[in-house]
Symmetry: D2
Subunit: 342 residues, 4 copies
Amino acid sequence: MHIRLFCIKNKEGDDAIIDNIERRKNMRSIRTDLAVEAREFYSVDGTEIPGVKTDNEEIDGISINRVHVLSPIGEERLGKPVGNYITLESMYIKERDPEFEERLSVQIAEEIKKMVSIDNKTNVLIVGLGNWNITPDSLGPKVVDRIMVTRHLLELMPEKVDERVRSVCAISPGVLGITGIETGEIIRGVVEKVDPDIVIAIDALASRRTDRIGVTIQLADTGINPGSGIGNKRMALNKETLGADTIAIGVPTVVYAHTIGRDTLKLLADSNIQMGGSAGFMDEGQLDGLLRQVLSQNMGDLVVTPKDVDIMIDNVSGIIADGINLAIHDNISLDEIRTFLH
Amino acid sequence: MHIRLFCIKNKEGDDAIIDNIERRKNMRSIRTDLAVEAREFYSVDGTEIPGVKTDNEEIDGISINRVHVLSPIGEERLGKPVGNYITLESMYIKERDPEFEERLSVQIAEEIKKMVSIDNKTNVLIVGLGNWNITPDSLGPKVVDRIMVTRHLLELMPEKVDERVRSVCAISPGVLGITGIETGEIIRGVVEKVDPDIVIAIDALASRRTDRIGVTIQLADTGINPGSGIGNKRMALNKETLGADTIAIGVPTVVYAHTIGRDTLKLLADSNIQMGGSAGFMDEGQLDGLLRQVLSQNMGDLVVTPKDVDIMIDNVSGIIADGINLAIHDNISLDEIRTFLH
Amino acid sequence: MHIRLFCIKNKEGDDAIIDNIERRKNMRSIRTDLAVEAREFYSVDGTEIPGVKTDNEEIDGISINRVHVLSPIGEERLGKPVGNYITLESMYIKERDPEFEERLSVQIAEEIKKMVSIDNKTNVLIVGLGNWNITPDSLGPKVVDRIMVTRHLLELMPEKVDERVRSVCAISPGVLGITGIETGEIIRGVVEKVDPDIVIAIDALASRRTDRIGVTIQLADTGINPGSGIGNKRMALNKETLGADTIAIGVPTVVYAHTIGRDTLKLLADSNIQMGGSAGFMDEGQLDGLLRQVLSQNMGDLVVTPKDVDIMIDNVSGIIADGINLAIHDNISLDEIRTFLH
Amino acid sequence: MHIRLFCIKNKEGDDAIIDNIERRKNMRSIRTDLAVEAREFYSVDGTEIPGVKTDNEEIDGISINRVHVLSPIGEERLGKPVGNYITLESMYIKERDPEFEERLSVQIAEEIKKMVSIDNKTNVLIVGLGNWNITPDSLGPKVVDRIMVTRHLLELMPEKVDERVRSVCAISPGVLGITGIETGEIIRGVVEKVDPDIVIAIDALASRRTDRIGVTIQLADTGINPGSGIGNKRMALNKETLGADTIAIGVPTVVYAHTIGRDTLKLLADSNIQMGGSAGFMDEGQLDGLLRQVLSQNMGDLVVTPKDVDIMIDNVSGIIADGINLAIHDNISLDEIRTFLH
């Protein structure tokens, strides 16, 4: 009897199992990778949360939201480490207007340069997280494909390289289900050899709201911190674990179907439309109970995403890569970047 | 001012516009490509609809549902032309067990052979519908990639080809947004040159229920009939338009997010849980009105799909292609098919 | 005994067989798709061939060679139908400088506009020839991917489309080994439905000289004419067979290894280096005999190509697509094209 | 003036530069990654080279050649480190017969098991070398895609995994031009975290003879040793550098065009056909001089490869991956492997 061999059906299967564990754990609280959503969630009426400061501005059609977690109190309230979380958002991304995309790349570069200081001695490592075989999870590897990689040139033939060019290397480490190795371990192994001053990690995110898919870009100077529960095998990527300033850049590419169902119910309950009064008073726990009744179990593995997610990811990964390229190198143009990459 | 050039942003954009027109039209009634769902919808209590006969059986872990639309009355009631609609369904598809997949391919072959008669004079044209650039829409082209194409061999070197092999040719015509040509026109153009006896068209479908995604395979001997409303530019693919027996094979790969929201509400209203009595009495129109209030407009472009839809489509397209290959050729084995295709 | 099923091993296998038949036929004479090479071959000393006129110019780093076959005498001497054959060539293509690439696209557009007259009533069909699964053969389908397809927009929503935009549709019909259908038949079937005024067909070519790979672009207003031998199943694509002005655009992506071996020997014999006098007097027949002795049979299936042919084809297909887009539409910019396509 | 930025045009460009340096260095001696070719080269008449032992056998249509480098003398003579070099070769690979492919996978597994001892405590790391963007260089990453990766399952849920399954992890580290990091550094970084007992590295090779392309598989228990010249930045992958038994598996996918030209001349000179006597006495140096005269400089960047190299690599990478999977795990079948991977 060799049936146990088949308990794990496929490379993605096992990843899904681990995802599920995490998801189940999060079900009671909120399921979002975005600080701006956490803040919305914990401060429905918009009042400031203690230890958290937020501001907003609008530049050239881009809404910029900055959530600053200032103290351990804020960290505890928001469930996000002390640090700065910048969200760039614009419906114009969907227009695919090259001029707007350039403005957005420039803004991303500005925000990165505010977070870390880069000069011509700085070594940067770009890390593209996620599974390249699963379209909505392939953002990170796609960004890495468009990064100006220069470290080897500066080492092997420094005299031939323009002085505006800084040292950049890049990897897409894959996911646990593809490599069998904790992604954090691979990254730490590479970091120990490369010894970068700055790490920039890019990842596809899940959000709570479908209208954020593909139009929201979050930058955080805290790196990636997957929660600190016992048994959490997913290693954080931050200054502490990597020994380098770590910026995380993420874009929501899916909303879990469970979230949609849940939020539909919540909206319904809140607005109390035609439903009688009692629904309005459901708390989170009641909502989840209700949801389990009306939705099939399967929902957990399902995501809501644009039908043309392949194209959306292609597009936004180009914008982010351009932003990173502009941020790192000194005063180079998008045309120069294109020529280099081509 | 050249702004009008940009009114249409991209190849997919225009397709989406046309999709939207269709979707909006369908919003009032039901949104499904599956006869079995239409039947469920119009006969909630399971009683037979006049002019429609159904039966079910289970073979080797595969549920087989057959909906026979017998008369114009049934056609009108169900919104599906007179003909036979076979649905094979099994949760085992997700297990990816090669033995089960072979059984399923054999069952698909059996159903095809019941629908049309194939001998060694028969010419078959396989048509892979859908957009190969959009993962959930790429089922048809993926099936075509695994079809044993033989027509040219039988024409150019008949003496070298085994007598069990029949004449098969295959195209993936693309979609309107990619070619600028009605898909039906391309197919008709090719049919006029090739003059097939049988056309088998494969397409990705939308269903109403998430638990059908990737586990349901529908075969219909009526071809593809996209509705008969005025202004419908999408041409039917059937005996009348192509002059050949036409089988349609489809697999649901997405559920429109709008459908999910709607069905969640309906389940809620029906079960009337904690919500007070009045919701139970909402009719379809009220539901849609409610839905428009609680869901954002954006929902229309969003789909619910497994996160690993790339892998699911790879898998099920292989099963269908094997079924077609087994159905057409005389007594050949899957090993022989693999050797040929490789 | 079912062994005959396997006589044809794979989709490409059969194509290779047919290729081989053609190649063997051509072995005695020259193996090139380029008029400029045919001319070099038949006029080693550079004197004008009767019925053939050539001129050269250089514009912005692009060498432009024009071979005009003026009469049946020229046609017979050169083995190319009466018409105009333009070759653009520049080593700068390898530099991947966006500015140079734009100049080259503009020059391609100029040459197309000299060959055919296009106004806002003109319907153009773009045909991407070749096998998308075989990198050096995928040029045509890659160009089609970057064509501004507009025909359906002008039909469905003419009022929303800029008046500079003309009607363009596009197909990649595949190859005989993929579809089982003569490519020419598919194209004729589509042409009968679409009724274009102009057809532009793009194909990967074989050349005789490795230094032409990826840096030479040939345009011909005679379409594609694969030889006129008995038994040639490959249909010509030209005004006669399609009923529309037909432009062929091609880029050499490979040299057959046989050609390399042969040309090495010939160069050797001609230069007579260290080899003794007799070799200098070998004629074509002797060369081929010699070659058969020193080269393995396998050589016939092998090609010489850059190791990074994937990247080279990506690049040059973009340049050609831009050239076509610029030629057809009235006074639009590359930026507008990018926005449309994106 | 920012011209220096552009000195390096693209990701592959810089790799090509380094390749060229290596190639030029090797031009005087022989250009092969295959021990069997080195042996042929240094022992034209087939006599044994001191310190080297060879034997041949034929099993089920597979020719097996074993070159054993026994001592430093053999190492110096052959230019290959002390160790065992096994070459499996069969023209049947081209037939794509699943039964033969299975036999070949089984034979690969046998040879691996002779080289290293594997039990249920063994940890294996599979490394797929090469550039996934360049078809003839993508063999290693393609093999990794089909490896049964199990390490994380055995760590996270050992009780659910069949006892025949051993711990396997796998990475495709990319190439210097893609990551900016020496491939050997990435691998060492990962090895330090994973601490494998055995490393198996797979790479595409260059051979001297076109008839070896795609039909020869070399296994070596010496790992990968890229030469020991001063300035060689390419780190060896072997027991010394990785601290684990290291097996290298390679398949020739190209022959450098320069090699072809050179070998054609050599064959010609050796056979002295019709050319007069003197050519027969050319030494290696004269040959290279001659070659430089008759071949263009460009030849250096060109490779000879089958036109359908994409398909060839798909095929042979599946055979190798199956061989590795069979070698590592205890008594599992190809069907079980397929189910797992699917």
